[in-house]
């Protein structure tokens, strides 16, 4: 049994016919070819697949695409509308070496963008807690924390 769904992704509405069992992560990657959203574990542990669902970060591997019918999704591709200009958090990741292989990065970004909106002046401890649901096998997290603090300073205009 397939279902007709319409999902707004990064501001654009897409209508597709999908199987109920299609994961939202696979819909984003395979149907929409938005491969910025990564899939690491498919059981909610790694955070690589994090996207914004109606503005809140969620695991896209733990939702079915049919459940997003009528809802709005933001993926990492939606962070900046200008391909020549990164989102300030992306820019800070770049400058502070917040990534090595980059596999985890989209999940970190999609977790941290709403975090910084809600808490524009986080302490280091708060940043560490905010990223506790995202795994990175390369950086040792230190540079990710540095990047978030750098972005916070810039976003606050100092």
């Amino acid at each position: 049994m397939t279902h007709s769904i319409t999902i707004t992704v990064n501001g654009q509405a897409y209508t597709r016919q999908v199987d109920a069992r299609l994961l939202l992560s696979d819909f984003i990657r395979h149907e929409l070819l938005l491969t910025g959203t990564h899939v690491g574990c498919e059981h909610g542990v790694c955070g690589a697949c994090t996207v914004l669902f109606d503005g809140e970060p969620v695991r896209s591997c733990l939702m079915f695409a049919v459940q997003a019918d009528g809802h709005a999704i933001t993926t990492v591709e939606g962070l900046s509308s200008d391909p020549e200009r990164l989102h300030p958090l992306q820019q800070a990741f770049w400058e502070a070496h917040g990534l090595q292989c980059g596999f985890c990065t989209p999940g970190f970004l999609m977790t941290l963008v709403p975090f910084l909106e809600a808490n524009p002046t986080p302490s280091e401890a708060e940043v560490r807690e905010a990223i506790s649901g995202n795994l990175c096998r390369c950086t040792g997290y230190q540079h990710i924390v540095d990047a978030v603090l750098l972005a916070a300073t810039r976003l606050n205009g100092d």
Binding site: L23, E42, C61, L62, F64
Partner: protein, 292 residues
């Protein structure tokens, strides 16, 4: 790592949802936040033929005051909403204190209170808190409703009193007696991981400052929330000084029978139980004393 095929229904009303469950029985599963069910389906540990998605049942979500000091929480209320609720902080501080320990914000944005209680993972925080607070579960099926006390609800590993055609609709937290203090403690290797051991304490003081009632509920030490009934009783009628609390915590760590697994040995769990129970009792007593 992909779920097996299933039929998907997204009912618009509770009656419609209950009718679907009545029709499909054991073949069907309600889908709440999906934060436990979908991983199990991805691994094919669960292969329900029918999913009844509760996410459009707005009536099942909400946090309401109940009489003087009580609280009612709809089963589909997101854990994140409970965490952020001033009403919960005021009327069920134990719940408010516990919420941030459950998984991560991304998971709590989807995960529901009802889903966690219905799932009854032995490592889950909320069943222990529900038991410590004498919560009552409102359970509906097509032709009726019943209310199940927390002490009768959690039956074993991933098992509750819910029948396949029933839905948990609401959880009622009665007000605590006067001069009651509560506290929550857990030890996990990483913030957000399932705890190695956790403990919820509740202490009520009599007007003379002696303990009139006390409760210790552990999780991750058995096949669901585990009450250390005898150990908690040792405090009753006593002045809650450090020695009495230490003795009660020590007795609790002997009363429970934790498992050994890859995460921790039984001995280590007992040790943690003793330390966490002592800390939780101490804070619960401090809070109760402040109310005298």
């Amino acid at each position: 790592m992909k779920p097996a095929p299933f039929e998907y229904y997204v009912p618009r009303s509770l009656d419609e949802a209950l009718a679907l469950l009545a029709e499909h029985g054991y073949d069907a599963k309600p889908l709440a936040g999906g934060q436990s069910l979908v991983p199990a389906m991805n691994f094919r540990l669960a292969q329900p033929a029918v999913l009844v998605d509760l996410n459009n049942l707005a009536d099942l979500a909400g946090i309401m005051a109940d009489g003087e000091g009580g609280l009612r929480i709809g089963a589909m209320t997101r854990q994140r909403a409970v965490e952020r609720s001033p009403l919960v902080a005021q009327r069920a501080p134990l719940l408010a204190e516990t919420l941030p320990y459950i998984a991560h914000p991304q998971i709590r944005n989807r995960g529901t209170v009802g889903g966690s209680l219905a799932h009854n993972d032995p490592a889950a925080e909320l069943p222990a808190v529900a038991l410590a607070l004498d919560a009552r579960m409102r359970v509906r099926k097509q032709d009726g409703e019943r209310v199940v006390a927390a002490s009768d609800f959690f039956l074993g590993i991933f098992t509750t009193a819910l029948e396949p055609d029933e839905l948990l609709t609401e959880i009622v937290f009665p007000p605590l007696p006067p001069r009651s203090g509560v506290a929550f403690e857990e030890m996990a290797r990483r913030h957000g991981d399932y705890a190695l051991v956790g403990c919820a304490a509740r202490v009520t003081l009599a007007e003379n400052g002696k303990v009139s009632d006390s409760r210790l509920v552990f999780f991750s030490v058995g096949d669901g929330p585990v009450q250390a009934v005898a150990a908690a009783k040792t405090l009753r009628g006593q002045r809650p000084g450090p020695a009495a609390m230490r003795a009660s915590a020590e007795a609790a760590s002997q009363e429970i029978d934790p498992p050994s697994d890859i995460h921790a040995s039984a001995d280590f769990r007992r040790h943690l139980a003793q330390v966490l129970a002592r800390r939780a009792l101490t804070r619960a007593v401090d809070r109760a004393s402040a109310l005298r």
